[in-house]
């Protein structure tokens, strides 16, 4: 269940029209799209299928800058650059996360196909950067090690 029971009840009792089952669309026009099926998928193949990227072609025109060994899995700095012409979006997956789909960044109106951000990675895992360009998907994969430390300083 995506929403915890507590927040589900909160929604019912607070009288909002948003339905946890997704049957009703919120009235507010500001409700941007959000791919629930992808975010809820527990296996990375299912998450990738849910965004429609299962037939992505591997590409070296996607550059991932990420640590070899993440200092802290809760704050992993990554940078993704797409050199594929017509790039519309960058999608990120971390295979071993409980829910591997991390998110999507869409670029419009002059934004360059580049993003630097910080994500959570639960374990040593493949980090996948998908690019959607002219409706087609491309992918680059890179392993990031995540350790559990003892003392730190």
């Amino acid at each position: 269940m995506f929403y915890s029971r507590r927040s589900f009840l909160h929604r019912l009792t607070s009288g909002l029209l948003v339905s946890a089952l997704g049957l009703l669309q919120p009235l507010a026009a500001a409700a941007a799209k959000w791919n629930r099926a992808a975010f809820e998928a527990g296996k990375v193949e299912a998450a990738i299928a849910a965004v429609g990227a299962s037939d992505a072609s591997p590409s070296d025109n996607i550059v991932i800058k990420a640590p070899e060994i993440a200092e802290n899995g809760a704050q992993v700095p990554i940078e993704i650059t797409s050199n594929i012409p017509g790039t519309e979006a960058i999608l990120i997956f971390s295979d071993k996360n409980v829910q591997p789909y991390v998110g999507t960044f869409e670029f419009k109106n002059g934004a360059e196909p580049f993003i630097a951000t910080r994500i959570k990675m639960g374990d040593t895992s493949n980090l996948r950067a998908y690019v959607r360009a002219n409706g087609k998907y491309y992918v680059k994969v890179r392993e990031v090690k995540v350790t559990i430390g003892g003392c730190g300083a």
């Binding site: 640590p67 200092e71 802290n72 704050q75 559990i148 730190g152 300083a153």
Partner: protein, 281 residues
């Protein structure tokens, strides 16, 4: 994974000898500091003295790159901001923290701890903040609490960023406190019978419990830290945690032992640049 090569074993043996000489020789503080610098220059010939402020990251470029990215826009900025609000809020009598320090509190933290002849005690920056509150009729803050003392120092110390540590040991009374701190640094404690020096001097750069051990040189320059970008930890907080990890009951925030140890460790890092409120893993 690192294994102890013969060369490393000899290096550590030599270091033990050198450090043993330091301890036994009754060198003065300047001599102590010089020995430590030379020791580390031998251990890590490729590391610049200035870079010891980066602790365990001096031999780990991957960690350092992550640190730099995170420090451009640290996730704990709102904690520092909370500290700024405390710093800037006037006391009931209209004065502020800035009025208690020279320069409005800029470039002062690197002078702490210092030895106060009048009371024969080492005074830390946190004690100075509390003195300021007391002098202005305000209640003092508890040592070791995240709020308000922790976040206050997370901001107040940044006002001294880029100054160089400037700890003075220039009287017999001061020297006694320095020696007390030094003694504690070399003393074996706890169920693991470990001394601070055992790890942070003789085994700096080696791996223990899957972590690279940080060198004592530079230790005092970079507090508080935010572990994982979230858990605020002060220098003395780290003493407590480390002592617990060595299976000993820690001395506690603002104890004489910790204040003297902080005094000694800060002196060792004299001349290094201060940078506060930093990310650590």
């Amino acid at each position: 994974m690192m294994t102890m090569s013969k060369r490393v074993v000899w290096k550590i043996a030599a270091a033990l000898l050198l450090a043993g000489l330091v301890h036994a020789s009754n060198a003065d503080p300047q001599g102590d500091r010089q020995h430590i610098i030379e020791y580390f220059a031998q251990r890590f010939p490729e590391v610049q003295l200035e870079d010891y402020i980066y602790g365990a990251m001096i031999t780990n470029a991957d960690a350092r790159a992550q640190y730099e990215q995170i420090m451009e826009f640290p996730p704990f900025m709102n904690d520092i901001d909370a500290g700024r609000k405390i710093w800037e809020t006037p006391f009931r009598n209209g004065k502020r923290f800035a009025d208690c320090f020279p320069n409005g509190g800029r470039n002062v933290a690197g002078n702490y701890p210092y030895y106060d002849e009048k009371v024969d005690r080492v005074i830390t920056f946190e004690m100075a903040l509390n003195r300021c509150l007391k002098d202005n009729g305000e209640p003092e803050m508890a040592y070791g609490q995240r709020e308000p003392m922790g976040v206050l120092t997370a901001y107040a110390r940044t006002l001294s960023d880029s100054m160089r540590l400037n700890i003075r040991v220039d009287s017999p009374g001061a020297r006694a406190k320095y020696e007390a701190g030094k003694d504690l640094f070399y003393r074996r404690i706890g169920q693991l019978n470990a001394a601070c020096a055992g790890c942070h001097l003789y085994n700096a750069g080696n791996i223990m419990r899957m972590e690279i051990i940080s060198p004592v040189l530079g230790h005092a320059t970079h507090w508080p830290i935010f572990r994982g970008g979230e858990e605020l930890m002060t220098f003395q907080g780290r003493f407590n945690r480390c002592m617990e990890q060595m299976r000993a009951a820690p001395y506690g925030y603002n104890s004489e032992e910790w204040n003297n140890l902080e005094y000694f460790l800060s002196y060792l890092s004299n001349g290094l640049v201060v940078k506060s409120s930093v990310f650590r893993k």
